[in-house]
């Protein structure tokens, strides 16, 4: 992954990633046939509610967010999904509509906990968990990429505001040291 903007002045490294290819899929995920088809097309299981598996995230009971792996294109995946699922389905390339950030450092949890009404203690939120919520006043979703690295996605229109918000929240000596 490459970054368009990085700030390492705070207690946590905040980085805005360059365009990440991703696809939103709307389909009835409770349907067994659809799940089986998706498993085949995505090359992995459909994640359980509020989970992320192999860069496929559970967004809602009828929605998945799929991060397209390097080397393949969102266009290809959109065509594959729209043609492959034999049920009412809609896959859309949302790469240009989203912004993705990385938060790297031991205190990444504390930066997010400042603005999100979520229990972010290591026991309550671990690798594989995926949470849609708000950060400050911005609708976001985040998950753990590694033990000390969060990935965060929000609408592209919020990119600059979100970056500034994260840099501000990550300032040195501003973290409560709770976790």
């Amino acid at each position: 992954m490459s970054f368009s903007e990085i700030d390492g002045s705070g207690a946590v490294l905040v980085a805005a990633q360059r365009r990440v290819e991703m696809v939103v899929l709307k389909a009835d995920l409770s349907n067994k046939t659809t799940r089986a088809t998706l498993k085949k097309l995505l090359g992995g299981p459909v994640p359980a509610p509020r989970k992320i598996v192999n860069n496929v995230a559970w967004m809602a009971p009828d929605e998945l967010l799929i991060m397209v792996p390097d080397g393949s294109s969102a266009d290809g995946l959109v065509a594959l999904l729209n043609a492959g699922v034999k049920a009412p389905v809609l896959a859309v390339d949302v790469s240009d509509a989203r912004a993705v950030f990385s938060l790297k450092g031991n205190h990444a949890r504390e930066v997010l906990a400042k603005g999100a009404p979520v229990d972010l203690s290591p026991g309550a939120f671990g690798p594989g968990d995926f949470r849609r919520t708000r950060l400050g006043q911005v609708a976001v979703a985040f998950w753990l990429e590694a033990e000390d690295e969060f990935q965060l996605v929000c609408f592209a229109s919020m990119r600059e505001f979100m970056f500034d918000w994260l840099v501000n929240a990550a300032q040195k000596d501003s973290l409560p040291g709770y976790f």
Binding site: A60, P61, P117, V118, T133, R134
Partner: protein, 106 residues
């Protein structure tokens, strides 16, 4: 602060993650109804003290609508349940009765 559990995605969040959609289980009066019925449907809302049924939307989460039964006095949430019902289901009523024995459903 209210603590609501979204029955669609299972998230237990506080109220800033949700948005209230007003009184639940309202009967729509439109074509063929009298002016009085329509005015009542449009403008009149119950405003009880204690137990209320409301519609809520998990606006910062999965985006789905659901119902909640809660108390306006103590902010206790008795239960949340799916949006695809016309009246509170029996288990929800039972939960409210267990906490508020004097309460009568109108």
């Amino acid at each position: 602060m209210l603590l609501l559990k979204c029955p669609c995605c299972g998230v237990e969040g506080e109220e800033t993650e949700f948005h209230c959609g007003g009184e639940a289980h309202i009967r729509r009066h439109a074509t063929g109804s009298t002016d009085g019925e329509f005015a009542s449907y449009m403008f009149e809302r119950k405003n009880p003290k204690a137990v209320v049924f409301e519609r809520w939307r998990h606006v910062f989460g999965c985006g789905k609508w659901f119902h909640a039964a809660r108390c306006t006095v103590t902010l206790e949430v008795f239960a949340t349940y799916g949006a695809q019902v016309l009246a509170p289901p029996k288990p929800v009523i039972a939960k409210i009765k267990a906490r508020r024995p004097d309460w009568r459903q109108k």
